[in-house]
Symmetry: C2
Subunit: 247 residues, 2 copies
């Protein structure tokens, strides 16, 4: 019996993502990095800067997944409420972390109330290093609280990654086929049914006026993935479709 | 008493978004378009191509929001399971829609089982026009099922928009301030507390080596928004911060 793989959920916190002001890019980054660690990103949720919503989603997701990563809402302004909400989700107080205070002092700016807010973490939380600026992230149990700014989110994830229990790395290989999905779907489904141990996805495209699809095989057994890609190439060639393996 | 504004949830369906293979752009588009219609996008969820997860999230979200928009999973391949899952969420059968069959015939390609799958919709659903290709989306009650390919998702949303009950349009105005968030947070919070009828967000940036933040005011009363932006400019100027109004 294979052990249950670790799963993760990403909680993107911020009105700016839902209003369309800001294009999120942290989800794609976290999806790629978690796959490298063999941690299956099961779902993501985008929530507004509203305490009840944040608390509810933190509690639902931490009960359901091995790891939860939040992004956004840990700055000094009034709309940064993630730390407070995570504390409330865990039913603990928000406390001033003396190490975080020292880190913030390094910035050389006055430590006013707003900046001190960035040193307040839920009781029992451990800091996550921020190699880009001074304000740290934090972890409490299985919830990792990262910044929203992409460069800082990346640096914090890198600092937190060694704490994660990695599974078997998830590999992928893909081939582009210049056929319409409707013309190869039945053939591809037969291959997918024969290989339930991998995920096979079909992602249609139109390129220089030609229709086609990227067929992606994902799983933990790299040699098997290569074999399945070759099966797909043969099946597509039999249908008269040109194929192009991706590097 | 103002009526409760319409709310929406976006359900992004697809392993490719969670694996990091594909960068989603539909959420930002829908966020911007819904704001224009005065519909508040409350949350979004990204889920894998797995029936139980899709059914659960469809049912949770349709009970909670005025409108649910799903993207992805309505093509002809084996991993396209959105229509089937939405039918199961509503407890109705999936039936072949004769109008959809006629639309698919226009493509001039053989109507095999895979293509016919794109003409199957939950019983009681109404088709949503697809001005880009032939396979339609559909609506059942308050759930709008759109394609994942951005150009097609946009076309389907345009076709569905006249069905939505619009609220007061949500306007926004913003000003960039060249101060660090920690230096203006208390001042900005005072303004935010005085104006609970608008949302004020602060989004920090680093530009040509200078730190600053975009301060965004959002709400339905456009003249009031302009007044508040001027209050913010005055407050930031008093702190010695250069400001730049955005067009």
């Amino acid at each position: 019996m294979t052990p249950t793989p670790a799963t993760a959920c990403v909680l993107i916190i911020g009105n700016e993502i839902l209003s369309g002001k800001t294009q999120d890019t942290n989800l794609q980054f976290l999806g790629l990095e978690l796959a490298k660690l063999g941690i299956r990103l099961e779902e993501a949720r985008v929530v507004r800067d509203e305490p009840d919503a944040i608390i509810k989603h933190v509690n639902e997701c931490r009960a359901k997944h091995s790891y939860v990563f939040t992004t956004g809402g840990i700055g000094p302004t009034h709309d940064d409420i993630t730390a407070e909400c995570v504390a409330r989700a865990f039913g603990v107080e928000l406390v001033l972390d003396p190490v975080a205070v020292e880190l913030l002092k390094r910035g050389g700016r006055p430590l006013n109330e707003a900046r001190l807010k960035m040193a307040r973490v839920p009781r029992g939380a451990a800091l996550i290093e921020n190699a880009v600026s001074n304000a740290p992230g934090f972890r409490i149990e299985n919830v990792f609280v990262l910044a929203g700014i992409p460069a800082i989110a990346r640096a914090m994830f890198a600092a937190a990654a060694p704490l994660l229990v990695a599974g078997a790395q998830i590999h992928s290989a893909s081939v582009d086929v210049f056929l319409r999905e409707g013309d190869f779907a039945e053939s591809l489904e037969r291959i997918a049914i024969q290989h339930p141990e991998v995920d096979i996805g079909s992602y249609p495209f139109q390129r220089d006026g030609r229709f086609g699809a990227s067929l992606v095989v994902r799983g933990t057994d790299r040699p098997l993935i290569e074999v399945i890609v070759q099966e797909i190439v043969s099946a597509m060639t039999a249908l008269g479709g040109e194929t192009a393996l991706k590097p």
